[in-house]
């Protein structure tokens, strides 16, 4: 291939990509507009087109899931991600959001289905880590390990992932959502019966994020009250906030 031919092909690809991205953005805007007036049928359709057209776009996938939650379309969301993940098996973003789609369904599922959903979510989160070991991937999987009952000894795996997330975040510029790692890592230590390390991490987090109420609360509580606060955080009956809006708004 000559340099000229390559340049030509590259230019064509760029134009196509730009057009596709523009099309996806148009679909995304149309989807969000429909969702705003509770037209979930059209809204989800357009958002699905947006995600299909731009699989690496975190915002499209995240907003699609949030709309699915509002429309109680959990199974549709799972079916959709199953398909796009099959079409794009190397997309870390899609695996991550597929995992979140499982998590999104947990609060409305029976207790055994919750286990199956959580297990499936973990599988997808692990694929995301393998494909792109980012802060988001490590934090997400690490946090999800903490939801498992003690009998499964998964909290220690969570600590390992959260330490990696912490390592990544300390290398880059400060983000407001990094406070989550301090909270979760402390919870992980608490769940592995290392209260000293838990308190140290929460303390460190509070220095970095002095106004965070969750950190303040954990540091103020002891014994059963602390247990109750942390268990409440991991109650499978309560919806986990999987909205990733913070990622692009900070």
């Amino acid at each position: 291939m000559t340099k000229k031919t390559f340049s030509y092909l590259f230019a064509v690809l760029m134009i196509v990509a730009t057009q596709l991205a523009a099309a996806s953005e148009t679909d995304y805007q149309a989807g969000m507009k429909a969702i705003a007036v509770n037209d979930f049928s059209h809204g989800l359709h357009f958002l699905e087109l947006a995600v299909t057209g731009d699989p690496e776009n975190v915002r499209y996938a995240s907003e699609y899931r949030q709309a699915s939650i509002r429309g109680k379309e959990f199974d549709r969301s799972l079916k959709f991600f199953e398909k796009v993940v099959a079409d794009h098996p190397n997309s870390a973003n899609l695996h991550l959001n597929f995992g979140f789609a499982y998590v999104d369904k947990i609060p409305v599922a029976g207790s055994i289905t919750q286990v199956i959903l959580a297990n499936n979510a973990l599988t997808e989160f692990s694929k995301a880590v393998e494909l792109q070991p980012s802060w988001l991937a490590y934090y997400t999987r690490g946090e999800s390990f903490l939801f498992w009952p003690k009998i499964f000894n998964r909290a220690s795996l969570g600590v390992v992932d959260l330490l990696k997330a912490m390592e990544i975040q300390k290398k880059g510029p400060r983000r407001s959502y990094y406070v989550k790692t301090y909270i979760a890592l402390g919870d992980g230590y608490w769940k592995t019966d290392d209260l000293t390390k838990a308190r140290a991490v929460w303390q460190e987090g509070l220095k970095e994020f002095p106004n965070n109420e969750q950190l303040k609360n954990r540091l103020a509580l002891q014994g059963d009250q602390l247990k109750s606060a942390i268990e409440d955080q991991f109650d499978p009956g309560k919806r986990v906030d999987t909205d990733l809006r913070e990622l692009w708004s900070n």
């Binding site: 599922a109 029976g110 207790s111 055994i112 289905t113 286990v115 199956i116 297990n119 009952p149 003690k150 009998i151 499964f152 109650d235 499978p236 009956g237």
Partner: protein, 583 residues
């Protein structure tokens, strides 16, 4: 000794010598109000779980730790409530404990002819006293995985097997039976709750006899209804009356949800959706599950009815599974009065009782509020947990749960074992406070059934508790007297003779208390059919209204407190005298 010294001495004697029964609130708060008299009473024979002898035996072992049941009635009409207790191993005998009237009991099952409830093809799983022929004597139904047995009470201390003659000779893997007169024709009818579908679980012809799902299984035994023909026979009418459920039924509870005079039915199903059936008053029921309670995916084990908040409407308590690995939570269904119920278990503090079994409403401190005692614990064995094994199966893709071969054997592992029982004290109808440890009722055995009854007729409700593979407990209520009470033995004339379904509304303290005669509600257990009211400080009542199943309402004027009374349907409401046992 001068007058002053004498006065001080008398005062000291009065203070120090005051018996516990009228002790201060502070003293009472530290006191234990139940005494474990199991051994002293001679009632300590342990239960033995059935072991199966088939290719699935090791798997079934983990799921059939059932059969420790109890049923209470005064079978010989001597005024003292007797106790029937089931065992489940193939060679084990059931027990009929005759109440000697002094808080000791004698096992008379062999003499009475009701000991043989187990063999290679049948395992006792429950029991029910009910007067099927209206002769005034409680007859005995031994509920079984296999063929249940109906024993007619001959009135001379003996019973005879009338199962075939009664038309009840049917193979069912029944675990529960209750009796109430759903069509108000004057004779109680029979409702069976069945766990496994009606296949021979001792020698299954297929491995596909386990629950097909953990959340909406419909391949269980469900409910089977028999109508009482009033001639000593029964006819199966399940379809005709509109009861269509094939869930894994563990308990049945009846009560009149809308106070229309017709008792409704709550079905507690394991592995799936509980059912609520509204009695239409014409001999049929309508499934109102969706509007009344919604479709749940939990593991219903118990259905007891009682008006816990004294608002004149019967509420329902259902136990489920709540543990580290499965946080279902119980249901305390508050009756909204419009045939809908709201679950208030979280708000009232009755949500978490571990792996729940029987839960019974009763007023143990006679304060006028129904308390709750709850059994729990599935298998307490070795230190290793069975949870990872079962979860490994659950998370395997496309596994066929109905196939018993896919279920891991439990071996010597534990599952929700060593759980402490809960005694929830009702705090004025708003919340409940666990007082089990204080009263020594927090055993960690694998509890199953609870029978509530006043075994010594002193107005304080006692407890008999069954434990799987273990000795039972008999707890004598030794509440210091002071809180008043009143109780009733009801006998129907136009209504069914045992007055099952009769409601009693007692007015005192400016409140109206509702209690009713139930025909065996609660997992693996039947409590007394007598109606008991705690009255707290009230030394007199305003009135008692009985609404009989026939529809007759009778209002009895003020009666003296701290007595049992026997009331007959249609009798004169004047000159009602306290009832005393014959002995």
């Amino acid at each position: 000794m001068n007058h002053q010294q004498t006065l001080i001495t008398v005062l000291l004697l009065l203070i120090l010598g005051t018996p516990a029964r009228s002790g201060s609130a502070a003293q009472q708060n530290d006191q234990k109000w139940f005494e474990d008299v199991t051994h002293k009473a001679g009632i300590h024979y342990r239960h033995h779980t059935r072991r199966f002898n088939n290719p699935y035996a090791e798997i079934m072992q983990g799921y059939t730790k059932l059969g420790a049941a109890v049923a209470v009635a005064d079978y010989d009409r001597d005024g003292f409530e007797d106790i029937f207790v089931t065992d489940s191993c193939a060679t084990c005998k059931n027990h009929l404990y005759h109440n000697n009237g002094d808080f000791t009991f004698t096992d008379v099952a062999e003499q009475a002819g009701v000991a043989s409830g187990n063999d290679e093809e049948n395992a006792s799983s429950g029991a029910l006293w009910f007067d099927f022929n209206n002769d005034g004597l409680p007859d005995l139904l031994v509920v079984r995985f296999g063929h249940s047995i109906l024993y007619q009470n001959m009135g001379n201390g003996k019973f005879r097997d009338v199962t075939k003659a009664a038309g009840l000779n049917r193979y069912m893997n029944a675990i529960k039976a209750i009796a109430f007169d759903y069509d108000n024709d004057g004779f109680v009818d029979l409702f069976f709750g069945c766990y496994f579908q009606p296949i021979n679980i001792f020698h299954p012809s297929t491995p596909r006899f386990f629950p097909e799902s953990f959340e909406d299984a419909n391949n269980g035994g469900g409910v089977v209804v028999f109508h009482n023909n009033k001639d000593g026979t029964f006819t199966e009418v399940t379809d005709r009356v509109g009861i269509h459920t094939t869930g894994w039924t563990l308990d049945l509870g009846h009560g009149d949800a809308n106070n229309d005079g017709n008792d409704d039915l709550y079905v507690a199903n394991d592995f799936g959706t509980d059912r609520f059936y509204l009695n239409n008053g014409d001999g049929t029921f309508t499934d109102k599950t969706e509007t009344a309670i919604g479709f749940d995916t939990k593991k219903g084990m118990n259905a007891d009815w009682g008006d816990y908040d004294n608002d004149g409407l019967l509420d329902i308590y259902v136990t489920n599974i709540t543990d580290d690995y499965m946080r279902e939570g119980n249901f305390l269904w508050h009756n909204n009065g419009n045939l809908t119920f709201t679950d208030v278990a979280r708000e009232t503090g009755t949500y978490d009782t571990g792996w729940g079994w029987a839960g019974k409403f009763f007023d143990y401190d006679n304060d006028g509020w129904l308390d709750l005692y709850v059994m729990n614990g599935w298998v307490s064995a070795g230190k290793e947990s069975y949870v990872p094994d079962i979860f490994a199966m659950i998370t395997r893709p496309n596994v066929d749960f109905a196939d018993a071969r896919n279920w891991p054997p439990i071996g010597n592992k534990s599952l929700s074992g060593n759980e402490k029982k809960r005694l929830f004290h009702n705090e004025n109808g708003h919340t409940f406070k666990d007082e089990a440890a204080r009263h020594g009722l927090d055993s960690t055995r694998d509890g199953r059934g609870i029978a509530v009854a006043d075994f010594d007729n002193d107005g304080r409700l006692d407890l008999f508790v069954t434990n799987a593979d273990d000795e039972p407990f008999l707890y004598r209520n030794i509440l210091p007297t002071g809180a008043h009470w009143m109780g009733f033995l009801l006998e129907g004339t136009k209504s069914n003779r045992s007055a099952i379904g009769a409601q009693v509304r007692l007015k005192a303290n400016g409140s109206t208390y509702l209690r009713y005669v139930n025909g065996g509600n609660g997992f693996a257990s039947q409590s007394t059919s007598r109606v008991h009211f705690g009255l707290g400080k009230a030394t007199k009542i305003d009135s008692v209204e009985v609404r009989w199943p026939s529809g007759l309402k009778q209002t009895f004027p003020s009666l003296a407190v701290d007595h049992w009374y026997k009331l007959f349907e249609g009798q004169s409401t004047n000159d009602v005298q306290p009832w005393e046992p014959k002995r």
